[in-house]
Every structure is written in C-alpha cells, then in structure tokens.
C-alpha cells in the first residue's frame, strides 16, 4: 500500500510502500521545527516495519538544516536495532555536501549505507 507525505516549502516528499517496506525521501528538510515532519516519517517507518519484513530507505536530499540533521541521526540510531534495514544514499556527482553528510550519518549511526550517484540526465 502506498502512503505519501506531500512536499512542502520546507519539507520533502515521502513515498512509502508499506508492503515492500521501501521509503523514499526526496527534497529539502529545512523546517524551523522538524518535530512534526519526523513524527510523520517515523510513523511511516513503523508501519513499514510492521507490514514488511524489511526496510529500504532511499534518501534523495538536496540539503537539510542542522535541526533536521539531529532528527535524521536519531531516526537512524533507532534503525540500528532493526537489522533488516537498507539505506540508499543518493547524491549528485558534484554534490560534496550531501555526499559528506551521508558519510557522517553512516559513521554516526553505525548503519551500512549504499552510496548511489544520481543519473546526470
């Protein structure tokens, strides 16, 4: 079953397939108060964990603020207890900021990341 969180000016689009357990997070995360967005995102994650026996999270981010970084780390830290998690970190080839952020989250969370260069076309 597909569930979505619509993109807004400061929050990304989220598309989740609760059957396959695949969640894609696409866009920017720059709200002053990140809590409401991450509550919704965590609910989707929990639903995917319940309905599927694996979790695939595709991060396709443009940029995010320091408040969002704190909540992304917290979210990933919790996923450490769910070994069926796959993290795909998408980035553009010349986007060193997003690539380095992915490295940082990988090291902070201890999760395994797949780094995927986005199609340039």
């Amino acid at each position: 079953m597909e569930k979505t969180i619509n993109a807004a000016a400061k929050t990304p689009e989220v598309i989740a397939n609760t059957i396959t357990g695949e969640i894609s997070i696409i866009g920017v995360i720059i709200p002053e108060n990140p809590i409401p967005f991450f509550i919704s995102l965590n609910e989707l994650i929990e639903q995917c964990k319940t309905d599927s026996n694996s979790l695939i999270i595709n991060f396709d981010l443009e940029y995010f603020n320091t408040g969002a970084a704190r909540y992304l780390y917290e979210m990933m830290k919790k996923l450490k207890d769910y070994p069926q998690t796959t993290i795909n970190w998408h980035y553009e080839l010349d986007d060193e900021d997003i690539y380095e952020s992915g490295i940082e989250f990988k090291e902070l969370s201890g999760l395994s990341f797949n780094f995927i260069v986005k199609d340039q076309f």
């Binding site: 000016a9 400061k10 920017v28 720059i30 002053e32 108060n33 990140p34 809590i35 940029y63 603020n65 320091t66 408040g67 970084a69 704190r70 780390y73 917290e74 830290k77 553009e92 010349d94 986007d95 060193e96 900021d97 940082e104 902070l108």
Partner: protein, 166 residues
C-alpha cells in the same frame, strides 16, 4: 567599495510567507553560480535566517548576498536581544579559532548530545556556516539601533569562489 559590489540577492523577510518563499527566491537568484558554491550559500542562508526565526521573528531580517573582489559574502541583518548577541559573540569567539576538522568533530558531538539530552536544536547553525564557508564569521553591532533590550547586528559570512580561505 560598495559600488564594486555586485548584489546577487537582497531581500527583507517580514512575514511568514517571506520565510516560506525564501528558499525559492534564493535558489532563483543564485542560479548562475557554480553548483557547489550555490549549495553552500543556501545551507548558510538557511541557518542564518532560522536564527532570526527562532530568536526574533517579529523583527525584519535583511539578507544580502553579494560578490566583491572574487569573493561572495552573505550579510544577515537581524535584531536580537542583548543576551542573544552576547551568546553569538561568545560562540563566534570560540568557533573562529577552531580548525575545520575540530569544528566537524564539535558538530557531531553537538548532534549526539542534542539527542541524548532531548533538545530540539543541536546549536550547529553558525558552526555549519563556518565549515561551509571555510572562513571566519564576522559580527558587528549597528550603532544607534538599541531598543528595549535589543540591538541590530550584521553577521557576515565570506566564501571565496573556490571555497578556499585566502
């Protein structure tokens, strides 16, 4: 000196709509810049504006991005309480002395601590500006702007075209 500046973006943020639309206005204004530089500027701008939203949204925040002498500057003018200004001055005094690797380490510690202590903000906004610009951040208090317990300040973030310090 001012006449040599090329203004890339100049905007006053007064309303909630201004803050909501800022990202789109900034992305459009900076579209001609190198992708990597534009991204760093957008990240810094986001943090500087949010400082104003969190501490004093009722007051206008003026943002300028301009190029001068092969460098790009961000100037963020905000009205803040004396206490907030003192906090920022203390923070800048610390982070302007730190190396980029040390700032990266501090940023990580702040993220971990914010989660452990259940705080919303890790307090990394100015640290991010310092890391992304690779330059020291300047602050000046604008004379004659004292009102109640607040004062206007300019925060300057300088980044070179190649992202390297002079």
């Amino acid at each position: 000196m001012d006449c040599e500046n090329k203004i890339l973006l100049k905007i006053s943020l007064d309303s909630e709509d201004d803050y909501l639309n800022f990202r789109f206005v900034a992305e459009k204004a900076l579209v001609e810049l190198d992708f990597r530089l534009k991204k760093k500027l957008l990240i810094c701008l986001t943090e500087l504006i949010q400082n104003n939203i969190i501490h004093n949204q009722s007051s206008t925040c003026q943002i300028e991005v301009y190029s001068s002498d092969n460098q790009i500057f961000i100037k963020s003018k905000q009205r803040l309480s004396f206490e907030n200004i003192k906090n920022i001055e203390n923070k800048l005094s610390l982070i302007n002395r730190m190396s980029i690797p040390d700032l990266e380490a501090l940023k990580r510690i702040n993220i971990i601590k914010a989660v452990e202590e259940n705080r919303v903000s890790p307090g990394n906004g100015l640290i991010i500006c310092r890391i992304k610009s690779e330059n020291k951040i300047d602050l000046n208090i604008i004379n004659g702007t004292k009102k109640n317990n607040s004062e206007e300040i300019n925060i300057f973030v300088k980044t070179n075209f190649n992202g390297k310090d002079n």
